[in-house]
Amino acid sequence: MSTTYDAMWEQLNLDLDAHAGLLQVLGKFYGDIYLSQSGRLQGMEYLDFVISEVHGLRIRELQEAKAAGRKIVGTFCVFVPEEIVLAADAIQVGLCAGAEAGKEAAEKVLPRNTCALIKSFVGFKLSRLCPYIESCDLVVGETTCDGKKKAYEIFADYTPVYVMEIPQMKQACDRDLWRAEMLRFKDKIEEVTEKTITPAKLQEAIRLVNSRRRVLQRLNQLRAAHPVPISGRDVLLANQISFYDDPVRFTDSIGKLCDELEQRVGAGQGVVPEETPRLMLSGCPMAIPNWKLPYVIESSGAVVVGEESCVGTRNTRDLVEENGATMDALIEALVDRYMRIDCACFTPNKERLDHIVEMARDLRVKGVIHYGLSFCQPYAIESFKVERALKAAGIPMLSIETDYGMEDVEQLKTRVEAFVEMVR
């Protein structure tokens, strides 16, 4: 990557040498995993470009927006309602949590047996490697799991943090709690941005975010064709980029990608041979640049056709009712939609099991690979129930627990290959 951004990165107080090293590794990683694929769609150039400018152009845009008085809000979870942030004319970005670059620094302030995602965001901050975190006026945490909950207390020593309380059950009182949290968040965003959120602005934001969800739904529908017209990795990338690129540009570009995909599907063209086993991923989120497992799967003679994950259908499945006329109605619509999220932090969480089985059937997959980050208790425990539900539906499942390190890639390959041999 060029050095035209050095001054900006320096201003953001990044560790320039370490950051240059990170970009180099990321570039090589992306080349190996993405650019080496054959038969990619032209529309992927947009995503390639966004990745090549991941710490460059997009950060410059954020800086320019800040100079024009807009605020930047960083998040780590699909529970944080972007609609409220956008309604206050602020920009929301999903923060870097998919690489182990800052692991050593993170382990100075966190126990070693903390999940890789938490270590990653703390590490990025402590090692001054992430220009997104450094651009944020506010970082919004949430109480999805104990690890994150406690880590935000530590994170708050380094950057302004606001935490939303996520309910753990779905009873009437939990809904009340979540509505109160939604309103408290709205107040906080209004305070930080010094703007008032009007019903008209909120409705506009709801429509914008819905349109992004719709285009990702369309992508998911098209990629499910047979033969499979796009690699699972490419769709995962689109989902990952949806968290931080400009929503209007993203929706427009993915729309074009979908048009192209539609032609390919119409022509019956596949990106892999027809007999390639179709698999589905389920479980923990895969934040950029965590492409390890999808890459292992797709190098083992299978293709991924669905991601039951926060970086996947959990984020795009449900839309917000758009037509509320008052602030109350719009907030209620948001509460409705966000309470439908089937994160493993809920108990009980039967919806997730139903969704997984339904999705696996709709996608006609040969098997499901459940992905858990090491030390992520909610998903690890729930994986046993997922396996049972899938077994009852006659669908085999492989459970993989791993982190961002590369030392277990060979073992993972053996397991995944054996699973592919088994389901073929």
Partner: protein, 270 residues
């Protein structure tokens, strides 16, 4: 040997490499060598100028092998598939296969018709594998191939709690410092690895009969303790570490599932 109707299977594991050659339906050769730091040189030594119609590689080094011997017709399958095929061939009634190798423990549940139905492998570290026993034998200064017999001379059963190889060594050292008989410590170490293995067997929903393969199946103490814990007898092939190589060769011969059970027990051809 220069027979182009023959098919070889090679299992390149972390500790040892096994090679078998089938000519027609007959197993005509089976050899073994340590893996060392140069597995490819060892493979070459084992192949010793032989030429075969095709080779199927399995084990940790399968990809390396396939990439390096490009002039041969090499395919690669996973150890899971290879052990399942090999065990089912040797014992058509087998429903579960246990392979404790150098750095992996694998448990494979077979469907009644013989296909792999489910499998489990140990996590990324070598806890509870052959490597663990090897490390502990060294710590107790007992040759590895005598370690099982040595443990069988124990007069009481002590619990070793650590499954991590490094922690278990500290635990063994403190037991020695307390004057515990080394035979009892050795038994405790065998118990630790078998308890972990039995938990894996339970997780896949083990069905009898169980075939116990892989290098550790040579160890009489491991076999005895396993049978005690399962309260059932297990089948140990005459050459338990050849099962993966045999399965690989069978794959190359196009022997899918449901083979004729008539053919050679490898011991008979030895």
């Amino acid at each position: 040997m220069n027979d182009l109707s023959s098919v070889a299977g090679i299992d390149i594991g972390s500790r040892s490499i096994e090679l078998v050659v089938f000519e027609g339906e007959s197993l005509i050769r089976q050899v073994k060598a340590p893996t060392t730091f140069d597995p490819l040189a060892q493979c070459e030594k084992l192949m010793d100028g032989m030429s075969v119609k095709q080779i199927v590689a399995t084990g940790y080094g399968r990809k390396l092998f396939a990439d390096s011997f490009r002039d041969l017709k090499v395919t690669a399958i996973t150890e899971i598939q290879a052990y399942a095929l090999g065990a089912r061939y040797l014992f058509p009634e087998a429903r579960t296969v246990l392979d404790i190798g150098g750095q992996d423990t694998k448990v494979i549940l077979l469907a009644p018709h013989g296909k792999v139905a489910k499998f489990e492998m140990n996590d990324r570290c070598a806890a509870g594998t052959g490597k663990f026993l090897e490390f502990m034998a060294t710590a107790l200064q007992i040759p590895l191939d005598e370690f099982g017999e040595f443990a069988l001379r124990s007069d009481k059963r002590i619990q070793i709690n650590s499954m991590c190889t490094v922690f278990a060594e500290s635990e063994a050292t403190s037991l020695m410092a307390r004057g515990e008989r080394p035979e009892n410590i050795a038994m405790g170490l065998h118990l630790a690895i078998i308890q972990r293995t039995v938990a894996m067997l339970r997780r896949v929903g083990m069905e009898a009969p169980l075939v116990f393969a892989g290098g550790v199946a040579h160890n009489p103490c491991a076999r005895k303790v396993l049978e005690e814990h399962l309260n059932a007898s297990v089948i140990v092939p005459a050459e338990p570490d050849m099962v993966g190589a045999i399965g690989a060769a069978l794959h190359g011969m196009g022997k899918g599932w449901g083979l004729k059970p008539t053919i050679l027990h490898p011991a008979a051809s030895n």
